[in-house]
Symmetry: C3
Subunit: 150 residues, 3 copies
């Protein structure tokens, strides 16, 4: 096994541990604010924790998908670094949102930007692979030659 998927797998495990941490916070919030399942409504403090976790859960599969697509088709190092930044942003988002609706905004924009970067790297990686596989053209090398000619 090459070194590459190891860092992606490490970020993946960290992402799962972060989701587990968020889920535990919802369980604590259910106890603290006496909101027993299946209800998901209650005091705003509870609803913010619940919504923060739901939102992170919703984005988890998208994050894992682009982490690996960008990692395999573009660059495992760049993708893993973006992955760490995203997980950091999500941590700040969760705690910001737990404190106030307003507090979620800055880290939400940060996480969104990192996710867009991963989507961009995935797209570039897939387009480059398309050219290489279906047209036999290595765009990156052509770009390098073109720059070398300048």
């Amino acid at each position: 096994m090459s070194e590459e998927p190891v860092t992606l797998a490490a970020v993946t495990v960290l992402a799962v541990l972060e989701q587990a941490y968020f889920s535990l916070q919802v369980i604590y919030a259910r106890r603290k604010f006496s909101v027993s399942a299946p209800s998901t409504t209650g005091p705003p403090e509870f609803e913010r924790v619940f919504r923060a976790q739901t939102n992170c859960s919703e984005y988890f599969p998208i994050f894992i998908t682009v982490l690996w697509t960008a990692g395999v088709f573009f660059s495992p190092g760049v993708s893993s670094m973006c992955g760490l930044l995203y997980l950091y942003g999500r941590f700040r988002y969760f705690h910001g949102y737990s404190q106030s609706s307003q507090g979620r905004l800055a880290p939400m924009y940060f996480s969104a930007r990192v996710l867009w970067a991963l989507i961009g790297f995935s797209s570039v990686g897939v387009v480059l692979s398309f050219f290489r596989v279906f047209l036999g053209v290595d765009l990156l090398q052509q770009l390098r030659s073109a720059l070398g000619l300048l």
Copy 2:
């Protein structure tokens, strides 16, 4: 890298972009109908957009999972084509649901049928692989020989 995962990866990136588009629609609907987070209830127009996005998000990981399982174990070309049909169905579902509860039904059934096709291809692919790997039997080739004998 063979040509096969490239088309699956391309459909994957399209699926992520579609989810991003749906998320943006929810943000616009929150502004338009003045429903600020963490609330997820409001006028039916808002709730339909919100539920449409939630439903697509819920199915996203299942879709990606069967897209790749069918693509790797059955056929990347067939799986990618089904993937494109599914994303088209989801697009029509989202806009149909945004307009009326009734409007979601036809594209929902269409998407469900495509998803079932992908689940079927995944199952067939996994069963064929089981026979090949654990019993050393190539069912497809046996079927071909049997048909050739007729």
Copy 3:
């Protein structure tokens, strides 16, 4: 293709079929308790079925992620066995929750324990791979030698 991913893929297909089964149960519950979309609130009987399905959906991507991470980086056999146990736990969770809030607890703890086992195997597998790839140290073999010396 080696024999290993086939069992992981088989568990993956079973997991998707289980999610499909849960989704059908929500559709039946909507009809039975006359709760038409987009509403997600209604009699407790309906809300329990709805929340049970939502909870299983939320955990699905995490489950698939650790199933494959543990399967690829630790052991496909161990991971597949845990996967089957998890799906069994989720089946009992869904039906327990459908009957009463209390009924979801025992299978929820069981599923959580299996999921933690998969997270643990994933972590161990990734750490071992890190040592092997980046430091050239095979921890497992060193452990075996150390035990042999005793």
